[in-house]
């Protein structure tokens, strides 16, 4: 066993330069996925005719097929059918793919949280004259956010890690860089261990953030 410690240590700052791209994908993906997810959750809760059916189909597809397949379909497949998409760059395709994929999971988490809010909260909002949509925005969703937070965070963690699949589209991110280093130095173990540690530390940091956020959102419910 000959672990090259100095190579390993020198590699880490080199890889960290690519963490930016990884986090850009993850955070952009999070924003778009959440927006989509909230809209879809509300459509499902209100059982909007037709749209509800479309959302169910969407969720079924994006949960029922592998993310890697979806990314390939989006980046390599769709431009063949729709020429305007030929110019799409790998980074954009990855962000779109991640957003679509994780929005399906997040929509279900948010819907479950909304359903978990006591019915009387909606009734009280309606009784003061709010419309159902306004009640959703002002009263229900803020409460649902607190309940959905742990599972949304789970999905975000999954999304951070899944950005590594973007290297298969040719995005020069963390995993791609580690792969390149490994194949030029033949130090596979050091390279992939380094990249694993970086993902791990990032996820641990976000988990800390989640705990803080939970404390903040729980403030209203303390006796």
């Amino acid at each position: 066993m000959n672990f090259d410690l100095s190579y390993f240590i020198e590699l880490i700052p080199l890889l960290l330069r690519y963490l930016g791209i990884t986090m850009q994908m993850a955070l952009l993906g999070l924003v778009f996925a959440l927006l989509l997810a909230v809209v879809m959750a509300v459509v499902r809760v209100f059982r909007v005719p037709l749209l509800d059916w479309l959302v169910q189909l969407y969720i079924s597809f994006f949960r029922g097929t592998p993310l890697l397949v979806q990314l390939f379909l989006l980046y390599y497949g769709l431009p063949q059918m729709f020429p305007p998409l030929v110019g799409i760059d790998a980074f954009t395709a990855a962000v779109i793919g991640l957003s679509l994929h994780f929005s399906a999971y997040m929509a279900e988490s948010i819907r479950a949280a909304i359903i978990g809010i006591d019915r009387s909260q909606m009734e009280a909002a309606l009784s003061i004259g709010q419309s159902p949509l306004m009640a959703m925005r002002r009263i229900i969703l803020p409460q649902a956010a607190r309940i959905a937070l742990p599972s949304l965070m789970n999905q975000f963690v999954d999304m951070i890690k899944s950005t590594s699949l973007a290297f298969t589209l040719g995005v020069a991110e963390l995993m791609a860089r580690a792969q390149m280093e490994a194949s030029s130095s033949f130090k596979f173990f050091e390279s992939f261990l380094a990249v694993a540690l970086i993902y791990w530390v990032v996820v641990v940091l976000f988990t800390r953030l989640q705990l803080r956020l939970e404390t903040k959102l729980n403030r209203a419910y303390q006796r």
Binding site: Q121, E123, S127, Q130, S131
Partner: protein, 245 residues
């Protein structure tokens, strides 16, 4: 001021309201009594359309709405002319006492934030909870929560306040402070319809008492009459039971 005609509600084919007719005059205090499961709460919930009636007409100040086929606009109009106090308080759990009262002023009545908060503060003072403005519902006692619930209803300056068993979920120690507040509103001639099992409140405060059974108004009249010499044997039987005479 408010005329209700032939209000009908069924749940899965079981009739709950069998064609209710009710006129409510401005400033009138109506108390609805009767055995449980006879449609008292459903009547209230149909008046502001938290429950969708099968048919009926509700007219507020000459504006008639066919509630069997109410448009979204009609629904909003009815709800904005009424306010509701819930048995389980149903305060917005994510908002402080002050925000609970100000919410409708800001989002429904489009008052500027500062004005809305000032009004909400004066209501909080009125209901004796000025020192609780930043407390969330979870940190308030049942009695305090229900007073905020009433405060929230007061904020909408609605034509009629609907109370759905406002003291039934309260520990006995908190019942009185809620009833006292309701009495003060009654003295100010706030029109209200109260479903309650508090017979002393009905006797002392009501202008008119309705006795409901089987989805119908069986008997109604001033409390002196209803409590002293009810005509209908069903009213007599009910009162004998609850008053333990």
């Amino acid at each position: 001021m408010i005329r209700i005609r032939n209000l009908v509600k069924t749940f899965n084919g079981t009739p709950v309201l069998n064609g209710i007719d009710l006129d409510i005059a401005e400033g009138e205090i109506i108390v609805v009594i009767g055995p449980s499961g006879t449609g008292k709460s459903t009547l209230l919930r149909c008046i502001n359309l938290l429950e969708q009636p099968d048919q009926g007409v509700i007219e507020i100040d000459g504006d008639a709405v066919d509630v069997g086929h109410a448009s979204k606009k009609d629904v909003l109009k009815l709800r904005r002319n009424t306010s509701f106090v819930f048995q389980n308080y149903a305060l917005f759990a994510n908002k402080t006492a002050l925000q609970n009262i100000a919410e409708g002023l800001i989002t429904v009545w489009n008052k500027p934030r500062r004005e809305a908060l000032a009004e909400a503060r004066s209501i909080l003072a009125d209901i004796g909870l000025a020192d609780k403005e930043n407390s969330y519902p979870a940190a308030l006692s049942g009695g305090q929560q229900q007073r905020v619930g009433i405060g929230r209803a007061m904020a909408s300056h609605s034509k009629v306040m609907l109370f759905d068993e406002p003291t039934s979920a309260l520990d006995p120690e908190w019942v009185d402070e809620v009833l006292q507040l309701m009495k003060r509103l009654a003295e100010r001639k706030q029109t209200m319809v109260v479903v309650t099992h508090e017979m002393s409140f009905a006797r002392d405060v009501a202008d008119r008492v309705l006795f409901m059974e089987g989805g119908r108004i069986v008997e109604q009249g001033p409390p002196q009459k209803i409590f002293a010499e009810p005509d209908d044997p069903r009213t007599q039987a009910f009162l004998r039971k609850v008053l333990r005479r």
